[in-house]
Amino acid sequence: MSPRLRLWLVCAAGSGLAALLVAACLDLPGFGGDRHPYGDRAVDASLARRTANTVASVNFDQRAFDTLGEMSILFAAVLGCVVLLRQTRDEHRARPEPAHVDRPVRRYTLLVLPVALLTGLYVIAHGQLSPGGGFQGGVVAATSLHLLYVGADYRALERVRPIGVYEVGDALSASAYVVTGCAGVLAGTAFLANTLLPYGTFNTLSSGGTVPLLNAAIGMEVACAVVVLLARFLDQAVEIEEVRSL
């Protein structure tokens, strides 16, 4: 297909889609309206189970099964990356040269790394209270480890990142989520039902029944997944080279 014909096709299909979407938008309930039946019920259910962050309650209690699906997508995506980016027979590893980094930049990264790691853990731990949770905190914690690559050296990162441990951690935390769900079945209720643990006091770290447990499992899963992902990409971009066939 010539580019010109393709552009015409895109414009025609796009304008049709645009007309349909705009018509749909005009029929949606107005922006900022006062009618949110699901939202109001979710807030009531969350408060009844003494979870201060309603969003965490929706994620890890009322729609915990949905989050299991999201987690499987994440797990499958990481698995796909690991398979796609493995070292093949016609490639070899070359040691990257150590990087020269300005002293203030190096000092800053070494100073900020523990702070960022701690912030990540804080965001995970306070997931059921203040904005945050396993998804966000896991990414922050995993990103903070890669400050070592950015500010110091690839080899320094490799030393604190035994990749096997993170792969095992990824699998373990994924199964921890399922096991917590199955505990509900064994206790005589439903899969992932939040009836197992006492709900605790409102607005404390242990409130909300199984919400903190599932939240922590997701936090670990996301952190390990991102570390494994970035490790594969760094391997490909920095270390692995093709054997030149001359």
């Binding site: 300005d102 965001v123 203040s130 904005p131 922050v140 990103t143 903070s144």
Partner: protein, 150 residues
């Protein structure tokens, strides 16, 4: 009329709008500087919003941005070191202006809130914001000169 929200809207429309223009046009060295400034300006906006909506828990967003914004710029500085080496970007005027905005916002918020844990968090955010952006600017201006490969 909420003064905090007004200030946030002004910084958003003026500051972040300008950095968007900067990142959309011009040579690469101007674009990386604009990206750095956008995170340096968004952090005070988030602090102002937290105060304007009267929600202290929104400060977490500013804290995370103050930590990860400079990390993003360092990623660009590190991986684009070759491209930037020939003509390193130097924008100390804009960097210090953004740092001044950040410092002003943090001090104003400290004055408006009662002293306590919230003040410590604000000051930590401010220190990370200003320190991070100055270091990121430094890195862009040739902090990774020795990096060839790796």
């Amino acid at each position: 009329m909420n003064g905090w929200l007004l200030a946030a809207a002004v910084v958003l429309a003026g500051g972040v709008g300008a950095t968007l223009w900067g990142v959309a046009t011009g040579p690469l060295r101007r674009r990386v500087v604009a990206q750095n400034l956008s995170s340096a300006l968004a952090c005070p906006i988030l602090l102002l919003l937290s105060q304007g909506y009267d929600r202290p828990s929104y400060v977490d967003l500013a804290l995370v941005l103050a930590l990860l914004g400079p990390v993003g710029t360092l990623v660009f500085a590190r991986l684009l070191a070759d491209e930037l080496a020939g003509d390193p970007p130097r924008a100390w005027g804009a960097t210090w202006a953004a740092a001044g905005v950040g410092a002003g916002v943090v001090l104003a918020l400290c004055a408006a809130t009662a002293p306590g844990r919230a003040t410590v968090k604000l000051l930590l955010t401010g220190a990370l914001l200003i320190g991070g952006n100055v270091v990121a600017s430094r890195a862009l201006a040739g902090g990774f000169r020795g990096v060839r490969r790796g």
